[in-house]
Symmetry: C2
Subunit: 252 residues, 2 copies
DNA sequence: CTGCCGCCTGCCGCTACGTCAGGGTCAAGC
DNA sequence: GCTTGACCCTGACGTAGCGGCAGGCGGCAG
């Protein structure tokens, strides 16, 4: 029912200093003190802290958080609703960045130059940045980050040569298939589409069927990608697109 | 091919001051200067800036970003891969927060008390926070935020009474249906399940069928929710769960 | 040649804490 | 009853990543 700073800090995942700070600026003052001056937090304080942390995660400055939380018109449910909306907006934003990255990856694999605008499109609409200095600083210690680091630096020259070789081998085979007149939704084409997906998954990122069909459509929608494939063999862009779609449908 | 600070700032969505700062700390120094001392950025600089901004968005401190980018072992593709992974990890994290919010919403609708641990679970695993002070401060001016604000504060006492009334009306009807012996996967039960989903969507958040079935499972998995429904009528928790699943399947 | 906008370099300010320093407190164990 | 170590307190200064302003030069359209 009553907690010390240390206990609150541990359960909420913040530092004691942070709680001191919130007390100083009046954002979250413990409901009481012991005779010796120790801060005592109760359940209501924890609830408030939770709100504070969520809004902080969402990037609001502390002062504004105080205003939001102390708004008498906003009951708990209203906060939840607002946070839910903000979160979904942010997820959408990150997903756009992911798409942009996937786009850039495809482009880089094919040596396609991006225009400056495209470079920053992912940030474009509503402001470019976001900070998260502290959190991500600590992130440096998380498994996820280490894992990412490890994997990102794992590929040596040899690997790159292998990737290139795999890609070229795949390219030769699909060109041959196209030339042979085999249908784009036939088993051989679908098999090559699947292989294409697995090459991406193995060497780059987990490429779901959904992502894969997205890529396929991009190959047609973006003329530079179209040109890349058409340069290899006329009709290849459309052929690959169809094969990928057929493959995705058949595996679903 | 060559850009001034202002131009770069505009296309990248940062301020001139930021570019000055990056120049000062050596994170991104323009490749040249004019005779008059004007900074001149070229395409390579833009490319580097893009990397910087992505890593910044991902929360890395600028110093670390410099180290990452200047790492000779990391080619462009490696950066893309790393960013892709980091982004997906972050999206997962945000989605967990969303789930936690949805959980809290359900709990609050039913007056269920959360334990302190549950309060902060969403932050738990890897650190609690994330900042984004600047970005989200500016966010204060975006449509999304205003919209969110508007909707969040739109409900007055009357609305709450209506929500409560709707809920109770729905409750009475499903209890009656359960008592009548109608099957949980019958049309009436499914209709009530659908209504349940729409009440959430209308008043709280867009509740997809996927989310809805997730909620349904939670009603069974979490004993407090189970108890809530079982208190209304024995067997109701399981009945509702089944009805929601049946409804979701039939609409898919 | 005169605006006016854009660029330059300081330099001070701000937020949200981190990080001591210097000193009291509390429960456990001897 | 006294020590010990973990925990708490209050200043106070430091830091990152810019924002913002002052004071002054540069460039080009009219």
């Amino acid at each position: 029912m009553a907690y010390t700073v240390g206990q609150v800090a541990r359960v909420a995942g913040v530092t004691v200093r942070t709680l001191h700070h919130y007390d100083e600026i009046g954002l979250l003052s413990p409901s009481g003190r012991t005779a010796a001056g120790y801060r005592r937090y109760d359940d209501a304080d924890l609830q408030r802290l939770q709100l504070v942390l969520y809004y902080r995660e969402l990037g609001f400055p502390l002062e504004e958080i105080a205003a939001i939380i102390d708004d008498p018109a906003a009951d708990p449910a209203a906060h939840l609703r607002r946070q839910h909306e903000l979160l979904t907006v942010r997820i959408k934003r990150l997903q756009e960045m992911v798409t942009a990255i996937e786009f850039a990856m495809e482009a880089s694999k094919m040596n396609i130059q991006l225009t400056p605008q495209e470079r920053f499109e992912a940030f474009g609409d509503f402001d470019p940045e976001a900070h998260e200095a502290e959190a991500e600083q600590r992130w440096g210690d998380t498994d996820a980050y280490r894992e990412s680091n490890r994997r990102a630096s794992r590929y040596g020259k040899d690997d790159w040569l292998r990737i290139k070789a795999e890609n070229e081998d795949w390219g030769r085979r699909i060109v041959a298939l196209l030339a042979s007149g085999a249908p784009a939704d036939g088993p051989e084409a679908m098999e090559l589409a699947e292989e294409h997906r697995q090459i991406i998954s193995r060497w780059f990122y987990e490429c779901s069927y959904e992502i894969h069909t997205g890529l396929a459509d991009m190959y047609l929608a973006d003329e530079r990608f179209t040109a890349h494939y058409e340069n290899i063999a006329p009709g290849l862009a459309g052929y690959l697109n169809e094969a990928i779609h057929a493959n995705a449908i058949s595996r679903a």
